[in-house]
Symmetry: C2
Subunit: 241 residues, 2 copies
């Protein structure tokens, strides 16, 4: 189920069309929940037959990226949001319609080795090579959280700081556009962090820290991403989806 | 939108049927996700016309308690679960298929006054009379959490320890059966508790405590319940729905 956009020209025609459709979704030409153009219009745009478009759409529907509504049309399905997008809120601001600006800052993207906990989360062997993406999060300018995203390096080998910047830090879009991996669901576990096991996470002393662990599955229910976030609870809260 | 089952005999016939249907849902005769009997079978059971059954079903569909699937039948819709139901998990047990037994213990159910925070959560005035339900939660016998449920006393006046026991501690079922209030959605906010503002919540000293605040809305999007839970993070985690 691993796809490399760069090899697109060697794929069957309907798969090439599929990747062009994927690109439109990952580039936000078509947004989640929006109706896409008709098979006829798409066949015209890509100069292929309607049958080829239908075949590509069938695959995307089977993969869950598109949804057909009978007698209406074909829609881009919704997906779980990344954190940050209105998940971190200041105390007392949870009922406010004003959204605070949340910004991730990439600290590092480097190769590492799966620890016990990460191996368990990702369902891989301990000491397997992984990629660790570390970020700091600012809410209206104030540092409020750190997170670490871990991926299996054998599968997501091309992920580096340059590629992340190219996708403006939107990892879910990156997985889809670069690897054909579509996020399907996420489960989160919440706890208060007694101590912070990651030495690069630096809050002021004695701050109560919320820790969230999150595993993300793709369409076939395989876990492919493991995240941990540490939130300064003196400053803000983490809201459920 | 407040209903009192006890006045059922003075309601129009279709409303009486509606309450009998509600009762079947709240008594778990029909479970969430299950298909209910046909209009014909229900008319026969309640000795009313099929038109009266249809009218009652229409109201329940409009309220979101039932869902019609064309050409298939009418189903009991799903609703957000209460916490406890597999939301509290021991560390390391999150991928286990074994479910730990979670049990709430009612500590008290008493009248009180809305504090600032509760008033904001429930959208009522400060010092409004409220009902506070306090519980302790055990996971496989170990005390892992405390919670407090707050309701507007003017609306949920009949809620007391006896009524809670009568519904086996299932509050969502109680709201539906006794007040016709159907839970529609819940939003949660997570944080690490620096200090615990409730003096009746007693953990061993220096335990890192996760605090969750939760507001629950009914079908018309009004918030009617405010909860707080405190979880001993040394013992367990809280899992997202």
């Amino acid at each position: 189920m691993q796809h490399q956009i760069k090899d697109v020209q060697f794929l069957p025609l309907y798969q090439q069309v599929r990747f062009q459709l994927l690109q439109k979704i990952s580039d936000s030409v078509w947004l989640a929940g929006e109706m896409i153009p008709s098979e006829f219009a798409l066949a015209d745009e890509f100069t292929v037959s309607q049958g080829t478009v239908r075949k590509a759409l069938n695959v995307l529907v089977a993969e869950g990226l598109l949804v057909r509504r009978q007698g209406v049309g074909t829609f881009v399905s919704d997906w779980p949001e990344e954190w940050g997008d209105a998940r971190l809120v200041f105390h007392g601001a949870e009922f406010s319609s004003l959204k605070d600006r949340i910004e991730p800052e990439l600290l590092s993207c480097s190769k590492g080795i799966a620890t016990d906990r990460v191996a368990e989360g990702l369902g891989i062997k301990r000491n397997t090579p992984v990629i660790n993406i570390r970020r700091a999060w600012r809410l209206s300018g104030q540092l409020v959280a750190f997170d670490e995203v871990t991926l299996d390096a054998s599968r997501f080998d091309r992920v580096d700081a340059r590629l992340i910047k190219q996708h403006a830090g939107k990892l879910y879009k990156l997985y889809l556009a670069e690897f054909g991996v579509r996020v399907s669901a996420a489960t989160e576990w919440f706890m208060a962090a007694g101590s912070i096991e990651a030495d690069w996470v630096r809050f002021t002393d004695n701050v109560p820290v919320l820790k969230v662990e999150r595993c993300t599955t793709e369409m076939n229910a395989t876990i492919f991403e493991w995240r941990r976030i540490w939130v300064d609870s003196r400053r803000c809260m983490y809201r459920s989806a």
